[in-house]
Point group: D2
Chain length 371, copies 4
């Protein structure tokens, strides 16, 4: 009898059922379990109190969607071997494993390489430990596998990563704008000339997906108060580093880097911040008390850059940009019954090139609240 594990997931009102022993073993790996202690949306919970969900739950959710997507494609006659199935599942399961605490905020502060590189290092380490079972997964993840559409399921404008995080972040923040017809989009996936495409009937769902992503971007991911909180945390880390350059600093070239890095998570940062409230350095202690008690900087957005702004640990400026859809990226393609295959920017009546290309740029200025 095979071991089967059922993991509850409120997002897909239900659960994920896993019975592949290799996948079960990877889930039990300490590198994977540590993602239970890293929140998916960093400090966003200071604005949306429900947003405590972790990267752990996101990576399992993406695995859930990958399983469904592979089933749909196989049903439509796309050839996918058992090894490729497992590879695609493991690739999506591990696609975020390299994230550190408050990753998008602190990414370039804690460690000097992007999280994708650490992800690859961790995948390679697990692969060694498990005798090469991740070979296909790593090839798919790194886009060196000969069937390109498998990589697109993991990373493209319509991958299982985005499908899961949009739905998940929407669920836990309570922002209904992000709700996506996930099941429907997945049921419309297809493969044409080794490219992941969407069947004609799925065009409205894809439009909705692009719009949802854009709205979530401004309403959640780039929410004013979240930006303000991020800036506060960055000031704290910057100041702490100035006082002690070794604080939360990881050198990828040092021996044992990976295991040391794997021991750090959101909890460590927050405990340090609480500790630094009592620092002798008044700047650091003030910043930390502000963070612990959620006294965040004021912030304003503008379409024009802010000039002549005095910058300090308590004040500064920055820039945000979003385009709902990236033309540099490979375009989402629609497959018609008659065999034609058109990019969404041509296929959609609603979302024409003008709309899709439009880039919204915002400038922000954060500064101490009136005292």
């Amino acid at each position: 009898m095979t071991k089967r594990k059922i993991i509850n997931d409120p997002v897909y009102d239900g659960f994920l059922s896993v019975d592949d022993p290799v996948i079960l073993q990877v889930i039990e790996h300490p590198y994977f379990q540590r993602q239970r202690r890293i929140k998916q949306l960093g400090l966003t919970y200071l604005v949306y109190p429900g947003a405590m969900h972790t990267r752990f739950s996101h990576m399992l959710g993406a695995l859930n969607l990958m399983k469904r997507a592979l089933d749909v494609l196989k049903l439509k006659g796309v050839e996918i071997t058992d090894d490729e199935c497992r590879g695609a599942k493991l690739a999506i399961l591990l696609h975020d494993i390299g994230h550190g605490p408050f990753s998008h905020t602190s990414e370039r502060v804690l460690v000097d390489v992007p999280h994708e590189e650490i992800t690859l290092l961790m995948m390679q380490r697990i692969n060694e430990e498990m005798g090469g079972v991740l070979n296909t997964a790593i090839a798919i993840f790194s886009n060196t596998y000969h069937k390109h559409f498998l990589h697109q399921l993991v990373s493209s404008q319509l991958d299982m990563d985005r499908l899961d995080y949009l739905g998940r972040d929407s669920f836990f923040t309570g922002v209904s704008e992000g709700i996506v017809g996930t099941d429907r989009i997945i049921s419309m996936l297809n493969v044409h000339d080794d490219e992941l495409v969407v069947d004609e009937k799925g065009i409205y769902s894809v439009e909705k997906f692009i719009i949802s992503r854009r709205l979530m971007y401004w309403q959640v991911y780039m929410h004013k108060t979240v930006i303000a909180a991020d800036q506060l945390l960055l000031s704290i880390l910057r100041r702490a580093r100035e006082l002690d350059p070794t604080v939360f600093h990881f050198d990828t070239s040092s021996p044992g880097f990976l295991d040391r890095f794997a021991e750090v998570d959101d909890d460590d940062i927050m405990v340090a911040v609480k500790h630094w409230q009592h620092s002798d350095d008044e700047i650091l202690s003030t910043l930390c008390r502000n963070m612990v008690n959620r006294r965040l900087p004021a912030i304003r957005f503008s379409n024009e850059p802010f000039v002549d702004v005095h910058t300090s640990y308590f004040e500064g400026t920055g820039k945000l940009a979003n385009r709902s859809y990236d033309f540099n990226d490979q375009e989402i393609k629609v497959l018609y019954k008659d065999g034609r295959c058109l990019p969404i920017s041509e296929a959609s009546d609603q979302l024409d090139r003008h709309f899709l290309e439009k880039q919204v740029t915002k400038y922000y200025h954060y500064f101490p609240k009136e005292q």
Copy 2:
């Protein structure tokens, strides 16, 4: 113009809107903000990954329900003054403020008084700081206020606390069994002879509520693996204390106790556990590595006590008991159109005394997994 704050809450698909400046100020208090860092269900996230929600969100949710309940009662002609409204809201908002990290697990380990006492201490402290605005709230919370039903809204078999946590825990775990017709129950609340009662039409909803609570009890709150994880954490704290009696020990009689206690939350415990993985004490380091990497003890349940069990830091026994409904507590009462008022055990066709009185007792034995 009054300041109004909108706080998103995915549970009541929407949000909570607060405009009372006193309530806003209480929410901003560090004692309240710290509950952002204490999970509502402790280690339950090791079984239900979505269960990362905090006491902070629960207390705001309970406030949300209290607002609705007060509106319903006033609409039905129950007299409630503005001061009483604010008092009841503040009482429910603060009802859990004294909880420490992993409270139900560690309650008697960290501090030698129950959390209700610390709650009262914290309410009194905030009351002093804010010039007595919590007087009515404290009276309602402590059940010394002359209108008894206001206390029942805060603490009784059908209070806003239970209504919120059942719905919230069900939402975040994804266990649909706990879904309660919250809006309907609240709309059926009434007051009769200074007692909180339920209108006749709400009888089925109350039955459902009692059943849901019972099912959630076994499916979530007393889930085998959660019990196993709790025992592991208790062993860790016990062992760490043995090695150093001052570890996470709080003496309520020491000066500054309240502020020191208020600085400790889930994060501190988990960071300590990670740290102790490298302890020289092999028992402690083993226990901690097991916790960090989620290698939980095996556990089995039985209707009979386990005898002759060898106990250690890695093995032991315990007992759980649940009765869906507590006769020692005040019974839930149903108000009929003709003016009669009957306890639910008489009013309900389905849930008779036999069913309600039934106590389920389980014994458990946890022990190291096969090595």
Copy 3:
């Protein structure tokens, strides 16, 4: 390329995907399409305005669940051939096809055989027309097929029929009490000694299912006002028949019975009722005006029979009985990891024999509202 049809279904937030050409052809059959015009819950929409859903949607929903159940069982190693899969799907798809308008209300009035007999007649007719493709389905439906568990998927205490209608009726009435963890129950199904059973881990879900059914029974199916409306419709049909015995009367032995019966649906009854508002018979016209304008009889329930009640077209008495769980029926069985298989009445701590056997009987008296 195979034809694939996607049918939206708000209940399983998504849709049903069908690609078996035989099943598609059966769905297009006039006998099946007519169920679009027969409401699942008859006059219940007079109490729950959302309850307009049809038998058509229920039968498709039950097919959806059957597909999932068969997938789960096959994954667990239960042997089911392709012919048996299709048979089980067709059996559940057609299990209610014989229902007439307002079936539970008018069943014995319009036609003198129970709806199951007409279902079988219609299945046989379709089978003839389609060259025997329903042979296996009919055997499974009639419980003559050698694998007993396939029949249990169609008709037993835990069949796909009940699972769908509980969830569906709950969804459309808005009565959250009926929400069932459908996906979870289905994932726990198994087969042991040719019996459909539930894996040990599914025990709480089954308990919830039994409780939900009981609560839905009293809150929806036997709702006072629904009973009152049913009695009004019965009085109308009875009076109309008295005036003209051929009205809506179907003789199963007459030639062309099946096609004539298949032409009658809810719409015909309601149009006749509207028409009879202008009847010369004052009893009939009064009853019909009451129905059209929703002036329903008053009704009261009692635990004791009503005696000395004057009966007329406007007044009468009746009796309702419900037991949450039927011991005469085959019991739901739980399969333990150690191979034991126990009936739920022994396996469940909560729902013991006393609870399960309890029969609630209610007597009702309907009478004209005060004028």
Copy 4:
């Protein structure tokens, strides 16, 4: 004690509570009750089987939203008298009362005036019967009341009608694209210079609302197969009229018009169609058999008009147009904290004038399916 009626509504997971005796009496009026027999989306249930919901439920849902909107506005200090509250509620409750069967399809066929005129006639009739209680409601509905924003709550680009039907149609079809953050939008409503406006914070929700409306338009309201079904029904009515000009024809100038019209609903049309299956006229009988058994015409859409199409009862062409947002209509306005008030086309970064003005026009050609 006042009578209070609770009406379940699955859409706002809960219910509507009504205690105003005038509103209760209007709901009981036969003109209102008849809307229980008119589906909100006509023949759409042939594509989305869940879409059986009625105008009755929509009008009650819109009342529900109106209550919330009025509460929000009063809380923000907008002056609204009790009479105006009742007036606004009655206006939205009755705003669709004049709809006939399959209204959008058959509007100009059955009766020669638009449904708004019949709505006004019915409101006036009920007003006479009830001694003038609808005076304010009629003024608000007809936009003659001096407070303009009250009319805008009933009829504007952001009225309670649209908010309810988008959410409701989305719920019953299962098309998640239409989900709107109804509660949030309502909580953001405000009044500025006697105009209904949206607070600054609600800008993303309004963007989402406009996008949802556009997507629902093509995915549900103008779904190919629904258009095909509509054309079939129109052909049937046209042919039946040709054979007998009095069939379903209502002359607004004839005495007793209103009561006769009020007796006709969806059921009558469908029963007539079933009856005409046996007509001697082969065209009529064929069309009707096609409708009853859901053998709908084939249909194709194009961005260019179809030319040289042979038209008949079985074949024809038509044109559809949609602009997500109507500039001729009054624009939705956004109120900033600093007092500025801008139209959404200027306030929104995402939905600029180019996007909002874009009109999508589609041409269709329906024709008999392959025989």
